[in-house]
């Protein structure tokens, strides 16, 4: 069992690394650097998931987060002030309540983790988790898997609709204002003309 302590040391290094980098996300001045600290935290968690035996999930987590965090960094540069961290940044509200909430959540979860007696059913040796997951995805859990795919498709459509410059009720730059649903608008109200035209066409 000489490899056991190596695994333990590696696990605690990864755990400490992902916790510290997760904390640094909210402590750095630069928002771009925050995105990369979060990526580092995700890489640590992905490595821990791989160590637990779920290689596929861990690798997919790291790959997905690498892409997501790069997009996040680009969003930071585009929209946020101070992306490079040239000035000190500490933009928080309800700070004390947040610290209390975070600490309480951690303590509660830790107490549950220590006091609960979970069933002891470790993964049998020689099991290929990736192969089993593949058969599960295209077998028993196919409906859930396909539903996740449809959810992602509708998310793509929704994101395009939301980020589109020309919204349903006019240009997004001016602020889209929904026309009123008055079926007989007054003559000096051209904004709702299209609605009444459409209503007239139906009747």
């Amino acid at each position: 069992m000489s490899a056991s302590w190596v695994v333990d040391v590696l696990f605690w290094l990864l755990a400490a690394g992902s916790l510290v980098t997760g904390w640094l996300v909210f402590r750095t001045d630069s928002m771009v650097r925050a995105a990369f600290w979060l990526l580092a935290s995700f890489v640590g968690v992905g490595a821990m998931v791989i160590m637990l035996g779920a290689e596929f999930i861990g690798i997919v987590l790291i790959l997905m987060m690498a892409g997501e965090m790069l997009i996040m960094a680009i969003i930071m540069v585009m929209f946020m002030m101070n992306p490079a961290g040239l000035n000190p940044m500490f933009m928080v509200h309800q700070h004390r309540a947040s610290i209390v909430a975070g600490t309480t959540a951690f303590l509660g979860l830790a107490i549950v983790a220590v006091l609960t007696s979970f069933p002891d059913r470790p993964v049998a040796s020689g099991v290929d988790a990736t192969e089993q997951l593949g058969f599960e995805l295209l077998g028993g859990s196919m409906l859930a898997f396909q539903t996740a795919g449809v959810a992602l498709l509708s998310t793509m459509i929704g994101a395009v609709v939301l980020a589109n410059r020309q919204g349903r009720y006019g240009s997004a730059d001016e602020g889209s204002i929904e026309p009123d649903l008055d079926p007989e608008p007054s003559a000096e109200d051209p904004g709702s003309g299209t609605v009444s035209d459409a209503a007239g066409g139906r009747s």
Partner: protein, 101 residues
């Protein structure tokens, strides 16, 4: 590497994420807190899958669903940030005290 250790680390990540999601003013930093919380959930799920579910592949399937939730949250969040910035020039939560102008 015991199950308790994994769950405690996951609890720590969840606590940090909750702190970030509640305290940050910037939309994107707030989303980072949410991501950390989902990440902690994935870690706890992997620990329970490996130590007390016997490597049931449905546990891995649940992790895939968690990652879908992460991706959906991220994409919709960015789209909303783009939209809100365009219409209100808002990049922090304090500028959105009212839903309607």
């Amino acid at each position: 590497m015991s199950l308790e250790a994994v769950l405690i680390v996951a609890g720590g990540l969840f606590g940090i994420g909750l702190y970030g999601a509640l305290s940050q003013q910037s939309f994107v930093m707030l989303m980072m807190g949410l991501e950390l919380m989902v990440n902690a959930a994935i870690l706890a799920l992997a620990g329970l899958w490996a130590a007390s579910a016997g490597g049931n592949p449905q546990g891995s399937m649940l992790a895939v669903v968690f990652m879908t939730v992460m991706a959906v949250e991220m994409a919709m969040g960015f789209a909303l940030i783009t939209n809100v910035y365009r219409i209100r020039k808002a990049d922090i939560t304090e500028k959105l005290k009212r839903l309607k102008r």
